[in-house]
């Protein structure tokens, strides 16, 4: 390894900086071209620029960013038939030799990428949460106070869209990328550069979305309904570009994950013995790969509408708002299962550890998740029950929507079966798992009311809906995320945040969360529509209680972040090698995990949940130190 580092390698040390410079250059070029070279006959009375300028500017700035990060070196090299990168280069790219700098440049090590994801997800989560705090503060009174009608809608849009970005990668991003390759016994993803790309699309997406406040904001919320989106000011463009980036990230990571899981499993590991979490990631990846392109198509049309003055979504021009609603929700409904299915997988992955039981009904659990995946493609029109679109189809969508509660119910059966007669260990992650099941149960039952057309006529587009999906996403996925953070940090960082205070934190977040959203469920039943800054006076008491609880929720989430930073970043409390005494493969490899995971690929796999026999899942061959003490 004494060969002098290549130029590309020297440059990529400064990857992030170069990326920012590239982004600026890209934006300037794109903006100039878009503003002056593209024929454009409206919106010119805006000193901030025109839609083509902003759109092209953002698009090229992302290209510039990635180029600066060094994503284009390899493909361009291939174009000219350059040699494949040397072993050293690949090892360097993989982050060999460690060091903190790995986390700030393009790295193909799935473990580094997992941690990068974790940080980015938490950033999205807490910035979005701050938005929620502002929204609740505004809703203390029935008429505008801290925000005005304009900034309030932008606030709603930012909160929802950021949270959607967060949720669509919250679990598959950090834990999927970090643990799936280890769990299936491979040293790397099928396409490591692609994996790096899927992460490095996130920061630009987040920043571009936030930049909307400089462009007048957007008033459509995260659903971006047309033709209102056609009507919006320049702020809409940042929503479109950001969402397109997230769509690409979801789709590409889906393809990459599927390819890895299907073709790079260790010998002796059939699909039927994969850890349940890998199964959930597989299902999710199929959803992402097959659903995201619909979003890309919709966004493309919207971009054409805004920059090229086509009329895809403008009725008077021959288009239709229903077109956007259909395409968007065809992506949007699988999207919500992209959120929760990995959460199911993680929870079922952790349950056996704390019950010291094999996972009860592994096969039905897999079947359940696959069933959810299949059904999620044929339910999207339940978002359009009152839209006046194809009334005769409503019974079918009502049926398919209610049908989806069957595979979801299976997850509960599996949980009950695993807990049955088990002496459960009430560790902090277990508490969060309990919270997950409680909240998701409420989320599921509120969903039944929305799937039934007659009752949906009262509840549709009300705060009932809002509370419903917060129960599934925040109460479900985010609770699973918190559990997983506490559970896996010892593995990912060698440090632990498991303290007494964390138990209090759980109860705080659990109670305040339910307080907030039970208030909001009742507000919705009493007839408060979503996304309004002014509401009927008789709804104020419930809104106040929601806000008060929401503050508590915000504080307890902040407390979680505080504990995380204090214990892991500052005090750096060292964790036991396998604090939960898990038999999972990921806990058998040493901590920190070697750059290439295994010195030998383990074989002879059994289901990783044989807690009754205590037999670990994998055999690491003769004399592998990682194996001792398991």
């Amino acid at each position: 390894m004494s060969t002098p580092p290549t130029l590309a390698r020297r440059l990529s040390e400064w990857g992030l900086l170069l990326g920012v410079i590239g982004a600026v250059i890209g934006f300037i070029i794109g903006f100039a071209v878009g503003t002056h070279a593209i024929p454009y006959s409206f919106g010119e009375d805006n000193s901030l620029g025109s839609d083509p300028g902003i759109l092209l500017g953002y698009a090229l700035s992302v290209v510039g960013f990635l180029g600066g990060m060094g994503f284009l070196n390899y493909p361009i090299g291939r174009l000219f038939g350059a040699k494949r990168p040397s072993e050293e280069d690949n090892a360097y790219l993989h982050g060999e030799g460690g060091g903190l700098s790995r986390y700030f440049r393009m790295t193909t090590d799935h473990k580094v990428i997992g941690l990068q994801y974790l940080v980015m997800i938490l950033a999205f989560l807490f910035v979005g949460g701050l938005g929620a705090m502002f929204i609740r503060t505004e809703l203390l009174t029935p008429s505008p106070t801290v925000a005005n009608a304009q900034s309030y809608l932008t606030l709603v849009g930012l909160h929802s869209t950021l949270m959607i970005f967060m949720a669509s990668a919250a679990i598959i991003g950090p834990f999927g990328n970090y643990f799936v390759p280890i769990m299936i016994g491979t040293r790397n993803m099928a396409f490591p550069r692609l994996e790096a790309l899927t992460f490095w699309l996130l920061p630009p997406a987040g920043l571009i979305l936030l930049s909307t406040v400089f462009l007048g904001g957007f008033t459509t919320g995260w659903t971006g309904y047309a033709p209102l989106a056609d009507q919006n000011v320049l702020g809409m463009d940042s929503y479109l570009i950001a969402f397109a980036l997230i769509g690409m990230s979801i789709g590409l990571s889906g393809v990459n994950m599927i390819a890895t899981i299907m073709t790079k499993r260790a010998p002796g590991l059939p699909l039927t013995r994969m850890p349940i979490f890998v199964w959930s990631v597989l299902v999710t990846s199929f959803l992402g790969a097959l659903a995201a392109p619909a979003l890309i198509a919709a966004v493309l049309m919207e971009v054409f509408d805004r920059s090229y003055q086509t009329t895809f979504f403008v009725p008077a021009g021959g288009g239709s708002p229903y077109l956007w609603e259909n395409l968007f929700w065809f992506f949007g409904h699988p999207e919500v299962y992209i959120f929760v299915v990995p959460a199911f997988g993680l929870v079922m992955e952790m349950l056996p550890v704390f019950t010291r039981r094999p996972l009860w009904g592994y096969r039905v659990a897999v079947g359940g998740m696959v069933g959810i995946g299949l059904l999620s493609f044929v339910v999207w029109q339940h978002h359009l029950f009152v839209s006046g679109l194809a009334p005769s189809l409503r019974p079918f969508y009502m049926f398919s929507t209610e049908l989806i509660s069957v595979p979801t119910g299976i997850i509960y059966l599996v949980a009950l079966g695993t807990l049955w007669r088990a002496r459960t260990r009430f560790t902090v992650p277990m508490l969060f798992i309990f919270g997950f099941f409680f909240n998701f149960l409420i989320g599921g039952f509120t969903g039944v009311f929305l799937s039934d057309v007659p009752s949906d006529f009262t509840l549709h587009a009300s705060y009932f809906v809002q509370a419903h999906f917060h129960y599934t996403i925040m109460g479900g996925e985010v609770f699973a995320l918190l559990a997983a953070i506490v559970y896996y940090l010892p593995k990912m960082t060698g440090r632990t945040m498991d303290t007494k205070l964390l138990r209090f934190q759980f109860w705080a977040v659990f109670i305040t969360f339910n307080g907030t959203f039970i208030s909001l469920i009742s507000v919705g039943i009493l007839g408060m529509p979503r996304r309004v800054i002014s509401y009927a006076a008789y709804l104020q008491p419930l809104n106040i209680s929601a806000t008060v609880f929401a503050y508590g929720l915000g504080l307890s989430m902040a407390l979680f972040l505080g504990i995380l930073l204090w214990e892991v970043v500052i005090k750096q409390r060292v964790a036991a090698r396998n604090p939960w005494e898990s038999l999972g493969v990921e806990w058998q490899v040493p901590t920190p995990v070697p750059t290439f995971n295994f010195d030998r690929v383990p074989v002879a796999w059994s289901l990783p949940y044989d807690y009754d026999t205590g037999k670990p899942a994998a055999d690491f061959g003769p004399a592998v130190p990682a194996f001792s003490g398991a």
């Binding site: 009375d45 901030l48 008429s143 033709p227």
Partner: protein, 209 residues
Amino acid sequence: MRSRIWLLVGGVVVFGVLVGFFVTRFLNPVPPQIAATTTSNTLQGRPVVDFNLTTVAAVGTAGQGNGEHPNWVGYLPTTYLKVPAGSVVHMTIDQEDGQTGLRNEYFGLVRGTINDQMTVDGKVMGALDPSLAAHTFTIPDLGVSVPLEGVADNAPANAMIVVQFNFVVPNKPGLFRWQCFVPCAAGTLYGNGGPMQTLGYMAGELQVG
């Protein structure tokens, strides 16, 4: 360890500064609000207060956005109005903008003003030919809606039409939005984007009390 703490504190401070910037600059930029000029005379036993607004096709640098959208149509000097509770507002609007035509002809009707009337260049009217309208001054929650006739295209430069009307504001303090119902935001979809959806141009708030 100390260095890490300082790093954390620094991060928190930076984040706090960013949030503060957002709150002060974007969350609710306090607009310059103009109060009605009180007069001595009364109407229906209520004190009369005067307002004088001007509608222009392009606000230039005078608009709310400090010249951010010089070519946007708008009300001048501002659209944030303040009147004492329970008074009669005597509104005078110098209409300098051209004719656009209403999307919904119904708003050609004068409603909610005293006697459901307005005075256009001295003559009393109860309705306006919708195709002549340049803007409307409408406070939906008070049921007040007055169409503003546009200056004819062949009219001499800086010609204007003076529209006057009186309406009663409630005795209870409150914040009422008001807007224009003419699709006057040229170049935006249905003429309802841009200035129509940006406070300070064709959208405003009437503070009572």
